[in-house]
């Protein structure tokens, strides 16, 4: 056991999987010699050489497209998009091929690739470096969309993603990258993809989130307890798609109230699907409208205004209280 940042934990997952399985290769812009612009792949090229830790030319569609070919060949490519705000350049490769080749070939070929990308705001970055658009991928049949929230679950989920026989988009909350350390066991640990987690028990209201916003959510849950005596139950989705609705619909049957939190723009965002599932599966138990605490439907502003854009603790608290007092 060692206390690690998320960056280190992801690096551990990559290192161990590469040690175990020589079909795992890492590729992307600056992932080799430079160790990635966030140092997530630091040291890998030294351990595994430039054929397995591949510095590619600057072309996202190229990176995704060759990853698909590699995966069909039998490798397990883990490609990096330097920021999620640039993975749109590879959108068609994911939608039209990664997601479809198993189906198109009637099961003859598989695409066991992972596309990693740091996402989300909070790091004083330039335009295009703070986006949260996981809904695009979650709406795409044939893909899986995973977002960890802590060093330990990032490591365990990435191991599962690498071993998954289908393509996984893996968004890493860059605001969490170095925000805190957590014990991460040296020994192998996996979390099944498509399974959410109860991270706090409660009976008054259910808070549902994933990724970077888990932290303000947990803070809000503590404050609700402290200040209002309210017991909030908290669900961490971990996988956005395939969405595990068993836990949160169960929880809302108990609490009757739900608050969803994500940085992504609100309209047609991930939260809407959670509302829809709740309406489908917990309808008769809903005591109040389900609140969505999200980014606004505008381009995320440059960093001077980012705090007001983001669904922070205060906004979550306010929404929970409104829901509770409905």
């Amino acid at each position: 056991m060692a206390k690690m940042t998320m960056v280190q934990a992801i690096n551990l997952a990559l290192t161990q999987e590469m040690e175990k399985d020589d079909s795992v290769v890492v590729l992307g812009e600056d992932v080799g010699v430079d160790g990635g612009v966030f140092r997530v792949t630091d040291g890998l090229i030294g351990k595994f050489g430039p054929e397995r830790v591949i510095d590619t030319p600057l072309a996202e569609s190229g990176i995704a497209g060759i990853s698909i070919g590699m995966a069909v060949y039998g490798l397990k490519p883990v490609c990096e998009m330097q920021f999620s705000g640039f993975d749109y350049l590879a959108f068609h490769q994911l939608e039209s091929h990664a997601a479809r080749l198993r189906w198109r070939s009637q099961g003859r070929f598989r695409v066991p690739m992972v596309m990693r990308a740091p996402y989300g705001g909070g790091v004083r970055a330039l335009e295009h470096h703070s986006e949260s658009r996981e809904a695009y991928w979650a709406h795409t049949p044939g893909l899986k969309m995973v977002i960890p929230s802590s060093p330990r679950n990032a490591r365990a989920l990435l191991v599962s993603a690498i071993r998954d026989p289908d393509p996984v988009v893996f968004y890493e909350p860059k605001a969490v990258y170095r925000a805190f350390r957590e014990e991460v066991p040296e020994a192998e640990e996996t979390i099944p993809i498509g399974r959410s987690q109860l991270v706090r028990e409660g009976r008054d209201v259910t808070l549902i989130s994933y990724g970077a916003t888990m932290h303000p959510v947990l803070e809000a849950a503590s404050l609700l307890k402290e200040r209002d005596g309210v017991e909030a139950e908290v669900v961490d989705l971990l996988t956005v798609s395939p969405l595990d609705d068993s836990l949160f619909t169960q929880s809302v049957k108990k609490t009757g109230r739900a608050v969803l939190v994500h940085e992504a723009p609100r309209s047609f965002g991930p939260g809407a699907e959670i509302v829809a599932r709740l309406v489908e599966k917990s309808f008769l138990y809903l005591e109040a409208p389900i609140a969505r605490v999200t980014g606004f439907d505008v381009i995320i502003p440059l960093y001077q205004r980012e705090r007001e854009y983001m669904p922070g603790t205060e906004r979550i608290l306010r929404a929970a209280r409104e829901t509770l007092s409905f």
Partner: protein, 65 residues
């Protein structure tokens, strides 16, 4: 009489609205709907038992019944 149950009652939001309008605690109402659901009728009946003036059924509630 029904004792207040700890379990939250099952009811559609529209039924909850009716209960709110009548000032009735849904947990006090005996459910008669499918799957133990409280229906608008249950709420009205309960209101009458409580001696409160039942609201005129809304048109959409009429359709639902």
């Amino acid at each position: 009489a029904v004792t207040a149950s700890k379990e939250p009652p099952a009811a559609a939001p529209s039924t909850r609205r009716l209960a709110r309008e009548l000032g009735i605690d849904l947990r006090q109402v005996a459910p008669s709907g499918p799957g133990g659901r409280v229906t608008p009728e249950d709420v009205r009946r309960h209101a009458e038992l409580q001696g409160r003036k039942p609201a005129a059924p809304s048109p959409q509630a009429a359709v639902a019944e």
